[in-house]
């Protein structure tokens, strides 16, 4: 049970390897590109799931998504740095640093105040970006072609494949790390903090610190997600990277996925992406209706998210972490 390779880790490894193989050998470019975007977003959702287990939902993580995306884009545009081994970690780092700084304020808040304060901060960044002509205002600007180990490519399929494999690797690594984290003592202080902060304090651990740490973690993951998305799309702009609707979308996918497993964000995010694409294709006038309707349906009929459905179909007990399978409330 306690060795590094537990069931979940094996599952994640097999799952990501399978997706990577499918991607390289079977999937057409467009689907690979969807998986790339979906898995990028899933990184952010992974962080939000950790916060959600702690009883916190942020309506402002577009702040970190945007910071990550703009970091990657600006490194290329202003400094000529396109090396993904630099730009992507930088995206996570910038988000983490800002998250760390804001965390000192935000960690004091709970419930709707936590959600709204995050929203306010993200809208401040949105307001700044929209009015900054040097960053293209509402238009944003294009991201330079990325390089890996200093090597760039003109071929879009090669570029896509490399990014795809990168997101699979980072996604796998993040999922495993978050899984290990959730199994650690500190990780148990997610549902524990949600359930009873007083008890946590009186057991000798600082609730503020526990929340701060998780907040920085989610910020870093969301920044990374933004960085990947910027590279995948080749474009950044405030409306699709920093506006509150982006935060809403992240929370949407979080709820869709459910807090049951670290694999859920990846599956939920992929489903969301496919849902949106097909809705957009089939009913271009009413795709929001389908997306919104799905959200309502999940809230009403699948309060534990997709993962609870998968678990039910799998017919297995899903107790993997302490209290980990009860993310949905009972508060």
């Amino acid at each position: 049970m306690t060795q590094f390779m537990d069931r979940t880790v094996i599952g994640l490894t097999l799952g990501f390897a399978l997706v990577a193989l499918l991607g390289v050998f079977v999937l057409p470019d467009w689907l690979m590109s969807q998986v790339l975007i979906a898995f990028s977003r899933a990184l952010a959702v992974l962080g939000l799931v950790v916060l959600w287990r702690t009883g916190l939902i942020s309506f402002g993580h577009a702040l970190y998504f945007g910071l990550g995306a703009y970091t990657v884009a600006m490194l290329g545009k202003d400094l000529g740095v396109t090396e993904v081994l630099i730009t992507l970690p930088a995206a996570g780092l910038v988000a983490a640093v800002v998250g760390f700084a804001l965390g000192f304020i935000i960690r004091k808040y709970r419930e709707i105040f936590f959600a709204m304060l995050n929203l306010a901060f993200s809208m401040v960044l949105f307001g700044i970006l929209v009015k900054t002509e040097a960053l293209g205002s509402t238009d944003g600007f294009s991201v330079e072609q990325p390089t890996l180990f200093g090597i760039g490519t003109e071929d879009s399929t090669v570029k896509l494949t490399v990014l795809f494999l990168a997101v699979c690797t980072v996604g796998w690594l993040s999922a495993v790390l978050v899984h290990r984290y959730l199994g650690s003592v500190l990780g148990s202080l997610t549902t524990a903090v949600r359930d009873n902060e007083i008890r946590v304090e009186y057991l000798g651990y600082s609730v503020a610190q526990a929340i701060h740490g998780k907040y920085v973690m989610s910020a870093a993951l969301t920044g990374l997600a933004g960085g990947f998305t910027a590279l995948a799309l080749g474009q950044v702009d405030p409306e699709s990277m920093v506006n509150w609707t982006v935060s809403g979308e992240l929370v949407f996918v979080t709820v869709l996925s459910g807090p049951g497993s670290v694999a859920a964000p990846f599956i939920g995010s992929l489903l969301f992406e496919l849902l949106r694409t097909y809705a957009f294709e089939l009913v271009p006038y009413a795709w929001q209706l389908i997306v919104g309707g799905t959200l309502l349906a999940v809230i009403f009929f699948l309060p534990g998210g997709l993962w609870s459905l998968i678990s039910k179909l799998g017919g297995r007990d899903r107790a993997a972490q302490p209290g980990g399978n009860r993310g949905e409330g009972e508060r």
Binding site: I112, V251, L289, I299
Partner: protein, 298 residues
């Protein structure tokens, strides 16, 4: 001097529509504890119905001034029909769920209602300018202000006054205040909370629709314009204190005046300033400037 006067008039004009919309949002939050993202949809539906109705009335030969009757009709019909339907089918079944989940459900609802607008009213913008033609421009501070904007300020005063009277001077209003103060106690005292919830939700929806209906004649009513107002009215409500009527008024005034100042004097900070104030208020007074009194629970 002219500048100050213009900032004041612009600020008040902007504040008054924000106030009406935010008032609906804040009473729903105060009583039901639901932060209703779908409020933006009430606003949009109010505007569309009003614009549509004004167009119809105008083609029927009703005078420009007469078409204003469409405003209260649209607000009431949208608020009551849409508000009731949503409360009965969605909101009612979510009481007791995690508040954040409820916010998200209303987000889903908002997406759905936005697209239903497209299906019902089409993608073409509506123009319902007739009422603005009925009001002569007035020269204030050296420039012409449209008379319609001034009536909007008056309307927000009236709405504010009526709300105050209803909440403080009527039996119903006292029930509502009691629930805002402590809903468990209210239940214990035999208040039919479900019924109050229902009425308040519908009243909030009417106010949201009224904000939209009243602004409709001054804008091109087009798809997607309900999005912006959501976060703006969130900001108003947060600044003022969630659940407080006075707070909504102060919040709307602050946002309105700040924005007017920014546009006229310092356009670069226009968007930034509102949310910066929202963040500052949350940091220093997380309950808002005028949060309503709450029962202390231990």
């Amino acid at each position: 001097m002219n500048l100050a006067l213009t900032i004041l008039v612009e600020g008040l004009g902007y504040a008054s529509y924000l106030f009406i919309v935010s008032l609906g949002l804040t009473i729903i939050f105060g009583v039901l504890k639901i932060l209703n993202v779908a409020h933006g949809a009430f606003y949009a539906w109010g505007a569309y119905s009003c614009a549509f109705l004004i167009g119809e009335l105008s083609t029927m030969g009703v005078s420009d001034l007469g078409t204003m009757i469409a405003i209260p009709i649209a607000a009431l019909v949208v608020g009551v029909v849409l508000g009731s339907a949503i409360e009965r089918t969605i909101i009612r079944n979510l009481y007791g769920r995690d508040e954040v989940i409820i916010v998200l459900a209303t987000f889903g609802l908002f997406l759905v209602l936005e697209d239903v607008i497209l299906l019902v009213f089409g993608v073409d913008p509506y123009f319902a300018f007739q009422p603005t033609l009925a009001m002569p421009g007035v020269q204030i501070g050296g420039i012409y202000q449209d008379g319609y904007k001034l009536t909007m300020i008056a309307l927000s005063l009236v709405v504010g006054l009526i709300s105050w009277i209803v909440l403080n001077r009527t039996h119903w209003g006292k029930l509502v205040s009691a629930i805002i103060f402590d809903s468990e106690l209210a239940v214990a005292m035999g208040v039919n909370v479900r019924r109050v919830f229902y009425v308040v939700f519908v009243a909030g929806a009417v106010l949201g629709a009224l904000g939209g209906a009243y602004i409709a004649p001054t804008i091109s009513v087009s798809p997607g314009f309900g999005v912006e107002v959501i976060v703006l009215s969130f900001a108003v409500v947060v600044i003022g204190g969630m659940g407080s009527i006075g707070g909504a008024a102060i919040g709307a005034l602050m946002v309105g005046l700040l924005r007017a100042y920014a546009v006229l004097q310092w356009p670069e900070i226009e968007l930034f300033v509102v949310y910066a104030v929202m963040a500052a208020v949350l940091i220093f007074r997380p309950e808002g400037l005028f949060a309503p009194a709450k029962a202390r629970k231990i």
